[in-house]
């Protein structure tokens, strides 16, 4: 079986500064893969390159058998790759419902869209209660739910979540992580970028530790969770 996403020797630069220095990893259908690491490790840059917002300077990206290198950002989602960006980036002056509709921008099956909007409300009841409210008025955690719900509206083959727990209260963070676990149990394939290594590794089938543009350590979520260097560097133990 071939992987759903295959990244090979990917290199991305901002001007002369290389932010991602030749990383390789893959994501199989149905699994959760996480990239962990500190700020500036190149995790967000990697996701932004996968969805076409940044152009790589080298390497290969194969998604569902196709090379993504020449595909413009606005066509990536139609291939089945959805991206919930860092900092959520919901559309603040649009209603919650319109935000969800934008997630289904390229779909034209009206009934299917209505059904999936309902599904998002089932997954996140608070969004349903506030469907006509401007999204900018939501709390950080609610905005995160909306960003995830919106990404799901494209019926992606692979869902990329960038820092879903960033800036959230511990309770809200637990809720978000529980939702990711629920999505996983429903069979959603997820590429999760997180600074919260503990939470991410507990969920993930596979994990990769990034440091200044390189993958320095890879393994199953469980192995990494128990790896001594990971525990020291990312889980705050000494």
């Amino acid at each position: 079986m071939t992987a759903l996403l295959e990244v090979e020797d990917l290199r991305v630069a901002y001007g002369k500064i290389e932010a991602v220095k030749g990383i390789s990893f893959k994501v199989d259908a149905g699994e959760v893969v996480t990239l962990i690491g500190t700020n500036g490790a190149g995790k967000t840059t990697t996701l932004r390159t996968l969805s076409g917002l940044l152009k790589p300077v080298g390497g290969q990206i194969k998604f569902d058998g196709k090379s993504l290198k020449k595909i413009p950002a606005h066509q990536v989602v139609s291939l089945g790759l959805a991206h919930s960006p860092e900092g959520r980036h919901i559309f603040p002056r649009m209603t919650i419902e319109d935000n969800l509709r934008l997630g289904a921008f390229l779909r034209s099956d009206k009934q299917g869209i209505e059904k999936d909007i309902q599904r998002a409300y089932d997954l996140f009841p608070i969004l349903g209660e506030r469907r006509k409210q401007a999204a900018g008025t939501l709390s950080g955690g609610e905005q995160q739910m909306l960003a995830m719900g919106r990404a799901l509206m494209s019926q992606p083959k692979l869902l990329m979540l960038d820092e879903p727990s960033m800036g959230l209260s511990p309770i809200m963070m637990q809720k978000i992580m529980a939702t990711i676990a629920e999505l996983k149990s429903q069979g959603t394939t997820i590429l999760l970028v997180e600074q919260n290594a503990q939470a991410a590794l507990s969920l993930a089938d596979h994990g990769h530790v990034m440091e200044v543009g390189n993958i320095v350590l890879s393994g199953t979520g469980r192995d990494l969770l128990h790896d001594e260097s990971v525990r020291k560097a990312y889980l705050g133990e000494d």
Binding site: L53, P85, M94, F105, A134, G136
Partner: protein, 310 residues
């Protein structure tokens, strides 16, 4: 005081013409943060497009009822071509340049378009007569709508309704709102933002073209400089209403138009102000109003700021 309703209607009509042109400023600004100072000239080329259809394409003596829709189409075609051409050739190459570069380009383009019409359009060195609808004025109770304003009276509300429907209810309209609020994320949703930018220019040009035909019918003549003051007024309307907000553009236009009409009608009645109520002072009062609004509501009338929490 009996003439108040009349003055309000005059202001409303004038203002809705400003509003039609203001939509183009606000739409383009909302999406690419560019003040398209050539928009007044896009409006002007629209008027000449309409004149071309009447004077050079249709046979002499064509009834205005047949000619007017065709003139409108001519105006829209020319204005859209100029606007889309400007976007492609002048603005797109500067998309990532510092803000000042496209702004200067816009001013240069504005002068170039004026001079092009002056130099190459037949007899455009002096004002050209714009064809008129025949028939008398139209009475609504005590209020008279001049023959030249009937088109505006009908076209402005229809245009606004079409625009509101487009932006709120169509997929492209939603893509446009998304692009205005967060272009990168709009791309992630599958919105082709380059296409949305072209559509914004084209749509702005379309409403400017409707406004330009209204202008020709209202004032009876057009000239290569007509886009300057009107463009400035429309830009003022856009800022007054809250730049980036299309309803703000219409509202700003109407407020400006009503203020001008009322100032010419009533300011000279105020003791000691008799010198300041003439038509030439109307522009001054329009800008005084702009300054006052911006002093107390810098974001414009409808330019609200929803808190964007991190």
């Amino acid at each position: 005081m009996n003439e108040l309703p009349q003055q309000l209607v005059n202001g409303l009509l004038l203002g809705s013409m400003y509003g039609l042109v203001a939509i183009g400023y606000t739409m383009v600004y909302g999406i690419v943060q560019l003040i398209n100072f050539a928009h007044g000239e896009i409006f002007m080329t629209g008027a000449f497009g309409a004149l071309t259809v009447y004077a050079y394409i249709l046979p002499d003596g064509t009834s205005m009822w047949v000619a007017l829709p065709l003139m409108l189409i001519g105006a829209i075609l020319v204005a859209v071509m100029v606007a889309v051409g400007a976007e492609r050739l002048a603005y797109r190459p500067l998309r990532n340049a510092p803000r000042l570069a496209p702004l200067i380009t816009a001013i240069g383009l504005s002068l170039a378009l004026q001079q092009a019409v002056w130099a190459w359009y037949p007899d455009a060195k002096s004002p050209r007569i714009f064809p008129q609808i025949g028939g008398g004025p139209f009475h609504l109770g005590n209020v008279t709508i001049q023959t030249g304003d009937i088109f505006l009276f009908v076209a402005a509300p229809i245009s606004m309704a079409v625009l509101a429907y487009f932006v709120m209810k169509t997929r492209t309209g939603r893509g446009m709102q998304a692009t205005a609020q967060d272009p990168d994320t709009a791309k992630l949703m599958g919105v082709n933002t380059d296409r949305i930018i072209v559509i914004a220019f084209a749509l702005g040009a379309t409403f400017a073209a409707v406004g330009s035909v209204a202008y020709g019918l209202k004032y009876g003549q057009i000239d290569f400089r007509m886009g300057f003051i009107l463009g400035l007024k429309a830009f003022t309307a856009a800022v007054l209403g809250g730049i980036g907000n299309i309803y703000g553009a219409m509202l700003g236009g109407i407020v400006l138009g009503v203020a001008e009409a009322l100032s010419t009608a009533y300011i000279s009645d105020i003791p000691g102000m008799d010198k300041f109520g003439s038509q030439s002072w109307a522009d001054v009062w329009a800008f005084v109003l702009l300054i006052l609004v911006l002093l107390f509501r810098p974001q414009g009338l409808l330019g609200e700021r929803v808190a964007d929490r991190a």
